[in-house]
């Protein structure tokens, strides 16, 4: 059973996670330079970023290590939404912040706006890995990466969904039909530059919701 870090351990001593260290070492041995970056929260989770060319090879290497349970596959759009957070008060003046429109990738970094995201689990060692890969866009904006179906058959529907929502095509996928949207739908809904029309037409009152109720301001109200 995988244990979270003991509360007794001194905070100054770094927590050692031999299991995850070993996984990374074996991945590096299998893939070499294709492992770009690793982020580890000892005893909790592991993120590995690989090059897009070795996306399938990374899946195969993990599978060979015993990661036989396919959890999910998806993508990330790291561009901040040009339409704002959506939860702010629309009447409020917004300060222009150049940092707010900067693309900032999460754990394990990256260079591209879009990234692949997949997670696989080893059901014997009780450990999981989140795999990431950059997705370079071609001149026409199209993106493609190798399909994972030969490695994990369950990736089929996940790739269809990712294709539909992000516009990423998967080489070797037999059937990239839309799952949810009509076949002639234009646009990719989960991209950040796809507007959520309902929010544009009638903005959410947002911050009003979390303001204290008038009654809770005085302390006389009985707190049962």
């Amino acid at each position: 059973m995988a244990q979270l870090s003991d509360t007794d351990t001194d905070e100054s001593t770094p927590v050692v996670d031999e299991l995850r260290d070993e996984i990374v070492a074996r991945l590096r041995a299998d893939l070499g330079d294709a492992v770009v970056d690793v982020h580890q929260v000892p005893q909790v989770d592991l993120w590995v970023r690989v090059t897009p060319e070795s996306w399938r090879a990374a899946g195969e290497a993990l599978r060979a290590q015993g990661f036989d349970y396919f959890c999910f596959l998806s993508a990330m759009d790291w561009m901040p939404s040009p339409f704002g957070d959506g939860e702010n008060d629309p009447t409020e003046e917004v300060e222009e912040d150049p940092a707010a429109s900067e693309i900032r990738q999460g754990y394990t970094g990256g260079d591209t706006r879009f990234q692949m995201l997949a997670r696989v689990t080893d059901t014997r060692r009780h450990v999981s890995v989140t795999l990431k890969a950059d997705l370079p866009q071609h001149d026409d904006g199209a993106m493609s990466i190798e399909s994972w179906i030969p490695v994990y058959a369950g990736a089929n529907w996940h790739e269809r969904e990712t294709h539909e929502m992000f516009g990423i095509s998967f080489d070797g996928h037999p059937d990239l039909r839309n799952m949810y949207l009509p076949g002639d739908f234009e646009g990719y809904p989960l991209r950040k530059d796809f507007p959520l029309l309902a929010r544009l037409v009638k903005p959410w009152p947002g911050i009003v919701d979390v303001e204290p109720m008038p009654a809770s301001d005085d302390d006389e109200g009985d707190d049962s």
Binding site: D68, M76, G86, L117, R119, H126, Y152, G154, L196, V210
Partner: protein, 390 residues
């Protein structure tokens, strides 16, 4: 395993018949059968298109998406506390269980933990939603095969559990009770005694269903040896929950991972079954309801005193980072990949729902089965439409 050999015999006869047809040069034509989107066996609006050769399915393709609500997009324009109202509606029969992994992911990012009493109550409510969810499955199972009685028993006994959930949270179906840092409220007075009574009723219900349904000869012949999923295929497709354990994989997130929930304080058994057929999947779920009632009983006895909420700021901002938390929900592994950029709301939430993976195996498992078996296999895989489409 006599049923298996009988089935093999049947397919042998079918093959002979096909040969005979060829020999007299009779042209046979396949047929496309459309099941759903509105069909009692589809639990909502899942449509299945099956290509038939006689009574046998050549290929089948489920067509989801009739109920897509775009939750992943909607979470991006909500604050963290508002998201629970949305994700409640993913698996609507076990709503509270949907809230827990998301709240845990947010807490992990904020580096806080709910007080022990809140963790305990969360686990109790989590298991109660499992009981409410799976007991309905057990009743519904009969209807799929023409036995109408069990479903009335299931609705009767699920009502007791829903009353408990309503008593504690105020909502029968959509509690929206879990908060970042704890729970909205403590349990009401007298709730624990009532829960003890209800757990006894539910164990009786399990015994009744076992006698009435699982001991039934028709039920056995409709499910034994049908829709067999081997362990490695199940893992490859990401099947989870009872579907995976019915294929002999000993994997239960309640036991196999450490989360701030009270599962490490109780003693329960994770059931597995080696067969991987429809019967095994149903049987595992029956055992899981029983285990869940035992877990609830134990947790009630050891409920620690104390507050149910830690100190959290009134306006919750979640620090930048990424977190994945999944729990063993009634339908299987339900997880959220939460990415925060330090704002009021999540930057992105990837929702990994159990039914999506559980149903994606249907083209594989329905290949070669007979038409009536489509219904029992779908029933035993057990999906909720909201959990596929999200």
């Amino acid at each position: 395993m006599t049923m298996l050999s009988e089935r093999q015999q049947m397919s042998y006869i079918a093959a002979q018949a096909a040969d005979a047809r060829l020999n007299v040069e009779l042209e046979t034509e396949g047929m496309t059968l459309n099941i759903g989107p509105q069909h009692p066996a589809t639990h909502g609006t899942l449509r299945i298109i099956a290509r038939l050769d006689g009574e046998q399915v050549v290929w089948a393709e489920p067509s989801a998406g009739y109920m897509h609500r775009g939750y992943e997009k909607l979470t991006e324009v909500r604050t963290f506390p508002q998201v629970t109202a949305l994700i409640n509606r993913i698996d609507w029969l076990g709503s509270f269980a949907n809230e827990v992994p998301f709240i845990l992911a947010a807490e992990q990012l904020m580096n806080i933990e709910a007080p022990p009493r809140a963790q305990h109550i969360r686990t109790i409510l989590f298991e109660l939603s499992r009981i409410a969810n799976v007991s309905l499955f057990l009743g519904d199972l009969g209807v799929q095969m023409g036995a109408v009685t069990p479903v009335f028993m299931a609705f009767r006994d699920r009502e007791y559990v829903l009353n408990l959930i309503e008593g504690a949270t105020g909502g029968r179906f959509h509690p929206n009770f879990d908060r970042i840092g704890g729970l909205k409220d403590d349990l009401p007075k007298g709730w624990l005694d009532e829960t003890r009574q209800v757990m006894k009723k539910l164990r009786n219900f399990c015994d009744e269903i076992e006698d009435l349904l699982f001991g039934n000869e028709i039920f056995q012949s409709r499910t034994r040896g049908i829709g067999v999923i081997p362990a490695d295929v199940a893992r490859q497709y990401g099947l989870s929950g009872a579907n995976l354990r019915a294929s002999g994989v000993d994997w239960d997130l309640r036991r196999d991972q450490s989360l701030p929930l009270a599962y490490d304080k109780v003693d329960f058994r994770v059931w597995t079954h080696p067969d991987g057929d429809s019967w095994a999947r149903c049987w595992i779920r029956l055992q899981e309801v029983r285990e869940a009632t035992k877990i609830v009983d134990q947790l009630i006895e050891t409920l620690p005193p104390g507050p149910v909420m830690t100190k959290v700021p009134r306006i919750i901002k979640v620090p930048e980072g990424e977190a994945w938390v999944s729990t063993e929900n009634p339908l299987g592994e339900m997880g959220y990949y939460v990415v925060s950029k330090g704002d009021l709301g999540p930057f992105r939430v990837k929702i990994r729902s159990a039914s999506f993976n559980n149903i994606s195996i249907t083209p594989w498992v329905l290949k070669g089965v007979y038409v009536p078996d489509i219904i029992t296999i779908l029933a035993s895989l057990y999906f909720i439409l909201g959990d596929i489409d999200r």
